[in-house]
Symmetry: C2
Subunit: 135 residues, 2 copies
């Protein structure tokens, strides 16, 4: 049963789950950040061009300022985006994707494209599941 104690072999270093150190798995450590509700959405916007705080807020109308601030900070902390403050008269802040961010977005955009292409299939699966649960 050795195969039970080993996973993530696709990601270079396999993670030995039997002697598990939760902060040691690259997949979990990286994915748990970009997996947030708003992260991919902001990365998608910032992959196209730099945005200012207020622009992003208008771009994603149903994000709260609190979550926008926090998500941007998390993305900045992981090195995906840069934050630059301009000392204008109402001070403005620009967020810009870094090289690391772009290198992440290359594979990530493929997943996003998949989502667009297969949205109908997913919705169909959902409808089918929900219908069968009612019977």
């Amino acid at each position: 049963m050795d195969n039970i104690a080993r996973v993530n072999t696709l990601a270079g270093e396999p993670c030995d789950m039997s002697t598990w150190d939760a902060g040691n798995c690259p997949v979990r450590d990286v994915m748990n950040q970009i997996a947030g509700k708003w992260s991919t959405l902001l990365l998608e916007a910032l992959a196209q061009r730099p945005y200012r705080f207020g622009e992003l807020r208008r771009l994603v109308p149903d994000i709260s300022q609190r979550m926008l601030t926090q998500t941007l900070r998390d993305l900045q902390r992981d090195g995906y985006i840069d934050r630059q403050v301009f000392p204008t008269k109402p001070p403005s802040v620009e967020y810009r994707m870094t090289d690391l961010g772009h290198s992440l977005f290359a594979p990530l955009s493929k997943v996003l494209a998949w989502a667009g292409e297969n949205h109908a299939a997913v919705k169909a699966a959902r409808a089918k599941y929900d219908a069968s649960e009612l019977g």
Copy 2:
């Protein structure tokens, strides 16, 4: 400023954010499911071979039964995995990735590979950010 009201152009159907219907964006609808804390981990395991409930629980020791049940159900609802009950004497349940799941995992595995390759860079960015915040 028309560019402000439009995003997600990479994903086929662009989402018009000015007349926003939250359930209408493929990217958000699909990503919000696979973006969970445990989803990618379980998809990674099930991409390799089918697993039973207890196997998955041992594979990911720090997931609670409650979240394992719920995450598997969500993945099943979206059509990524199939759940098959065998009427054995302690009844056993097998989870198996569907074709839709595999087609999603193809691009997703590239992101997972990126995570493995760039984990060091992300950790370095984090350390740098944390150090600069203390100063």
